[in-house]
């Protein structure tokens, strides 16, 4: 993730320790990357969501600052209350490590402006708990407010249960906060930014963010 941020934005990101209590001055974007945290004991992301640094992340988001959480980062954002819902065990119980097709649902957000609405991108997923679940009221609100940023689809961009790899409700792969400044998604766009790796479909997210931040700076 850090490598991608530097590669696409040209700026080296600062690393922040979980036990820190403040973000570097002038932080414009907080990225909580994937992987695993605290062994994912109790529930995925549950302990990390209560780490000391999270109060500063919550304050940053509260000020309208951008926060991106990928994979375990998405799970942490849900557990911390910055995003609604929860990521449950994949419906088929298996860890999934392969490329998935995502439909970009809207292009008018800081995170998705590098894409066209309806565009289909191919990015890797690697998770055991990516099955997005929320109560029906929350899902209705997310859909009504256009807060579903990415959905699992087939290569043709159509919804199909066979391509909803983890069984997520409404094939939700990524969601935005109420203010639109926090995005969480299970797939790893940061791993598809170089043609040598096989695809650059993930690049648009970081290129769009870079453009957006350059504009508001």
């Amino acid at each position: 993730m850090a490598r991608t941020l530097k590669l696409v934005s040209g700026t080296e990101p600062s690393m922040v320790w979980h036990a820190d209590t403040a973000l570097p001055a002038g932080t414009d974007l907080v990225v909580i990357p994937g992987g695993f945290s605290y062994g994912d004991y109790l529930r995925c992301g549950a302990i990390a969501a209560r780490a000391p640094i999270m109060d500063a992340v919550r304050a940053h988001a509260g000020r309208g600052g951008l926060v991106l959480g990928v994979c375990n980062g998405f799970q942490i954002l849900c557990e911390s209350g910055l995003l609604p819902g929860v990521l449950m065990r994949n419906a088929a119980l298996r860890f999934i490590c392969k490329d998935a097709y995502l439909r970009v649902e809207r292009s008018d957000t800081p995170f998705t402006r590098g894409y066209n609405a309806g565009q289909v991108i191919r990015v890797p997923v690697a998770h055991g708990e990516g099955n997005y679940v929320a109560d029906s009221e929350t899902v209705t609100r997310l859909e009504g407010e256009g807060r579903v940023a990415f959905r699992y689809v087939g290569p043709d961009g159509k919804l199909d249960p066979r391509w909803n790899i983890n069984g997520a409700i409404n094939a939700i792969a990524g969601i935005l906060s109420e203010g639109g400044n926090v995005l969480g998604l299970m797939p790893h766009p940061e791993n598809h930014v170089e043609s040598a790796i096989g695809s650059t479909d993930g690049r648009g997210l970081f290129a769009g963010l870079t453009q957006y931040l350059a504009k508001v700076a």
């Binding site: 529930r43 209560r50 929860v86 449950m88 994949n90 419906a91 088929a92 119980l93």
Partner: protein
């Protein structure tokens, strides 16, 4: 004091792990198993002897960390 917090999935939340266990029990021939839901049990030692205080602390623990109330219910018992 000994206490126990039990965390269970809310009704209506899919539990693929419980389903897998249910399938395994059925394939083992264990009779009369209609369905299985998996949950968690936390056995906790609480300082002091004030039951009401212990219950309040455990409720706080459950709300803040042990349960994700989006998908889970919890029950607090002070066993004494």
């Amino acid at each position: 004091m000994k206490a126990r917090v039990t965390v269970t999935l809310k009704t209506g939340i899919l539990d693929p792990q419980g389903k897998a266990i249910e399938g395994a029990l059925k394939s083992l021939g264990v009779g009369g198993v209609a369905s299985v839901r998996q949950g968690k049990v936390f056995d906790i030692e609480v300082d002091g002897t004030d039951r009401a205080r212990a219950e309040a602390a455990l409720k706080e623990a459950a709300e803040k960390l042990l349960a994700n109330t989006v998908i889970e219910n919890y029950r607090v018992e002070v066993l004494g």
